[in-house]
Amino acid sequence: MVIEQHFGVLAGTRRRRPGRATVVLVVLCAVAWSLSVRYSIGQITLSPAGAYRGLVETDEASAAEVFAVLARMPRAMMAVLIGGGLGVAGALLQSLYRNPLAGPGITGVSPGATTAVIVWVLYGPSLDSTGQVALTPLVAIAGGAVTSLITFAIAGLAGRADPLRLILFGVLLGGLLGVASQLIMLDAGEDAVFIIRWLAGSIDVVGWRQVRIVAVVLLLLVPFVAYATALGNVLALGDALAHGVGVRVGPARLTMLFTAAAITAVSVAFVGGMIFVGLIAPHVARRYVGGDLRRLVPAAALSGATLVLVADLVARSVRPAEWGLPFPVSPNTLPTGMVITVIGAAFFARVMSTTR
């Protein structure tokens, strides 16, 4: 059974794992490595030494080095933040759904947020850019929360808000919202191309302002994550046992769902569809630290950050204009989200075919 295999710690079948310290070290190394490589690749290619000078010893650096590093910094920070956030959201959701194949992207949480943002961008009041940047994550959170609430309510109406019904209605609602946002985009005209680009998931449009907002909101959500982590560990014991130790199962599920939805919403507010991170990162992390959320959540955050950094690296290294295609190609980099989707789909296929 899938559950026992992936929540081995809780089912009592402990897998042999490398020591925790080793894992943390390896993941941190991976983050550092990808950060450093990230700084050296781009329109201006820097040597690692040059990247170091631009980042740390700015007095001795050339203007190009400083400029390149400054331009690349917010992007890298954003990659770390949203990768970490989506990893955490995915870990919480997979625990909530008791299904290692679910994630924020395919269960309605992130479609809710993106639909809200599309409506906001097209029909919201026209604000100055500061207000726009500050309010977009809140709109996304509202969208994610409303979608979660609807999912929960329908599941309750159809019987009981158990993990299976939550997945089912989440996926169907996500499909409905996808069509709804396409309908909304019919009126968008010129903006449609921009929205499609945003939905594809690109980090290259963000600056420090967006990074700050996302960082602040994610920081505010940390206590909720801690609470949801504790709840999730109890719920993983089974509804009856959780009830027995005094946890109200329904509200606890709703809390976890809301927390995961809020994190997902903030993460997708500026960079669009990176949602597969929430599927892959917890999965990879679980292999090494097991199913206990206290360890899984931080590990998923780290692996999510690594994943987005690496995917962004790949995306920036691919130059479609140099492939000699028989037509002009306008933007010369891939959106990062597409790289993640391709990685994610392959990964999902592999997991799916090994857990039958």
Binding site: I167, L168, L173, L199, F276, L334, M338
Partner: protein
């Protein structure tokens, strides 16, 4: 995946509904053939039956068609409509060339979707099998996006064939990856991942579209929702020519479906290779839906709901009457969705694809949630 709920959801209940129950445990039988006979004897059967269902569908289609033909610019009275259908009046052109094609298109698309839904649900033995939930629609849309944005790259094959190839590839990918096909949640998740994968590829195509094709984005988006508003007779003929050959095939496959539904073991015992049969059946289903996806866009949920409605109305899951009924129900849903989209906010028009969500999607959502009580996944 059965969570063994304490409320005894999987327990047998002596209703006629039990006749088309799906089970996910590997029991010998899937369709409970013992229950319905006695159940029907006990309870008075209030189901409409095939004739009733067809009559109901015909009535709805008739009303929708009449309204569609009459209302518009100019709006005709019934008498004027008849005159226009027969004669050479001015309105004749409007009725015959502008308003009629989309009704025929809706009928064809809906009927093929309904049949395809039966084929997929019965051959996979999964109540949630639906071409738009399995990534087939998104695969077909990718093909259409490629032909729209890169006319130079598009191979010189007709659009339905390309949609058929891409859609079939997507569907087969999902089916192969899923493995345990009867686990509805697994199939649903795999389909959702495939949908977003193909959606991303489509976005990639739009993303890197040559700048001289950027004007096609709005047109493609209208297509991607599923709309019949631009149907002309020429398109309708092509649609019908491509999809009609698959309908006899679907009916020819009904017997195989009935055998397959009993279970793979039984099917093998009576000399049917379940794996090969499933592939053939899926291929027929794809051939049914591909022309619709190629010309009218990815219409969602009709194929999911029509078979369920039909089985409920017939009180039987015998594939032969269910195929007939599902074709009728699917056609009715499409005609109604198209009519609603055109007439509800009259001067402006809402694509039919949106209304199929209202007419088929939301009921399907509710129905699937309810049916979870009698279906163990």
């Amino acid at each position: 995946m059965s969570d063994g709920g304490p409320d005894g959801e999987g327990r047998d209940r002596p209703t006629a509904r039990a006749r088309y129950r799906y089970r996910s445990d590997d029991g010998m039988t899937d369709v409970d053939t013992s229950a319905p006979v006695s159940a029907r004897a006990e309870a008075p059967d209030r189901r409409p039956g095939l004739i009733g269902l067809l009559a109901g569908c015909a009535a709805i289609v008739g009303v929708c068609t009449a309204l569609q033909l009459m209302i518009g610019e100019p709006t005709l009275s019934p008498g004027e409509l008849i005159a226009a259908l027969g004669g050479e009046r001015e309105a004749s052109f409007v009725v015959k060339e502008l308003r009629s094609p989309r009704i025929v298109a809706a009928l064809v698309v809906g009927a093929t979707l309904g049949c395809a839904g039966v084929l997929m649900q019965d051959s996979l033995r999964n109540p949630l099998a639906d071409p738009s939930l399995l990534g087939v629609a998104q695969g077909a849309s990718l093909a259409v996006a490629i032909t729209t944005f890169y006319p130079a790259l598009a191979p010189p094959v007709p659009r339905p064939i390309l949609a058929l190839v891409c859609g079939t590839a997507a569907g087969l990918l999902v089916v192969l990856v899923t493995g345990r096909l009867r686990d509805a949640v697994r199939l649903l998740l795999a389909g959702a991942v495939a949908s977003s994968f193909f959606g991303t590829l489509t976005a990639l195509v739009i993303f890197f579209a040559p700048s001289d094709r950027a004007g096609s984005v709005a047109g493609y988006q209208r297509f991607a929702i599923g709309s019949l508003s631009t149907m002309e007779w020429e398109t309708v003929w092509r649609l019908a020519l491509w999809s009609l050959p698959a309908i006899p095939l679907a009916f020819a496959a009904a017997r195989v479906l009935n055998v397959l539904k009993i279970g793979d073991d039984v099917a093998a015992n009576v000399g049917l290779d379940p794996g090969r049969a499933r592939i053939v059946l899926m291929a027929i289903a794809m051939a049914l839906v591909a022309p619709g996806y190629a010309f009218a866009g990815p219409i969602a949920f009709v194929a999911l709901l029509a078979p369920h409605i039909t089985r409920g109305a017939l009180g039987s899951s015998d594939a032969r009457p269910v195929l007939v009924g599902a074709a009728a129900v699917g056609a009715t849903q499409m005609v109604a969705a198209d009519g609603l989209g055109r007439l509800l906010l009259f001067p402006s028009e809402i694509p039919a694809g949106v209304w199929t969500i209202g007419i088929a999607g939301l009921p399907a959502l509710y129905y699937v949630g309810r049916v979870r009580r009698s279906v163990s996944w």
